[in-house]
Symmetry: C2
Subunit: 129 residues, 2 copies
Amino acid sequence: MSNSCDDLVPPGADPLTCCVPLSREPISPEQATSVVPMLKAIADPARLRLLSLVLSHEGGEACVCDLLPHFDLSQPTISHHLKVLHEAGLVDREKRGTWVYYLARPAAMEALAGLFTADTGAARTAVGA
Amino acid sequence: MSNSCDDLVPPGADPLTCCVPLSREPISPEQATSVVPMLKAIADPARLRLLSLVLSHEGGEACVCDLLPHFDLSQPTISHHLKVLHEAGLVDREKRGTWVYYLARPAAMEALAGLFTADTGAARTAVGA
DNA sequence: GCCGGATATCGACATGTGTCAACATTGACG
DNA sequence: CGTCAATGTTGACACATGTCGATATCCGGC
């Protein structure tokens, strides 16, 4: 049932529009429109790296001060990219005192993986259930 | 060994730069740079739909004339999007007489799925091997 | 309460991108 | 070989996007 599609999509999109492999049936224009923001979010070198840094960081979370040193970009630019990732539903945001932590969203990753999974039946429910 | 990373990447990028889950370790700037074109290619509603149409079409292939009717876009625009998908290594191109067929590239799909796969060990080699 | 550090927002700028109309190219078929 | 249908290429345009500096906001410590 609840296979990570439920609370995935960011505010404003219908929750059922993901998780269907692209190869199973033609994705509808509406589905495409609602998935694309997530893809746009990761289709940038800085943001892809930021996401990977958060995902692979201890506990699946990292504060901005952990991330900044990895880039030659200004702090506002990093902040902007993190906002994009957050608004796309790929990472959560949590404020702890002076610091802001960004947290991985495993459900979002599963949804993306599901998009590209071959529709072989066996592979589709392997991870989730 | 040959786990779909070999002949994946389009001309000009090193072939080993994909297939490592984002959550396993921070993706390197170089890896990011070489994967991003693929992500950019699908981060557009028209192209995502085109890719899905090709993938889900009978035999994993479709000619331009099959695709055109699904869109309100001009033929040159569709042609442009297909070129982007092809140059990103997501679909192959095959000319048959007057028609041009675009073919799905399962290896590319696996590579993308692998990017977002949780690094749980079990899940990583589930589909491929 | 004030100061300093961490992060976000704003405004501006250069560059990239999606789209089209016009045209070029290719191949089938008489 | 000339015509037509299918597809690709080019140039131009509006719009989105990545980046920065300047500034604002929030919070902890003194």
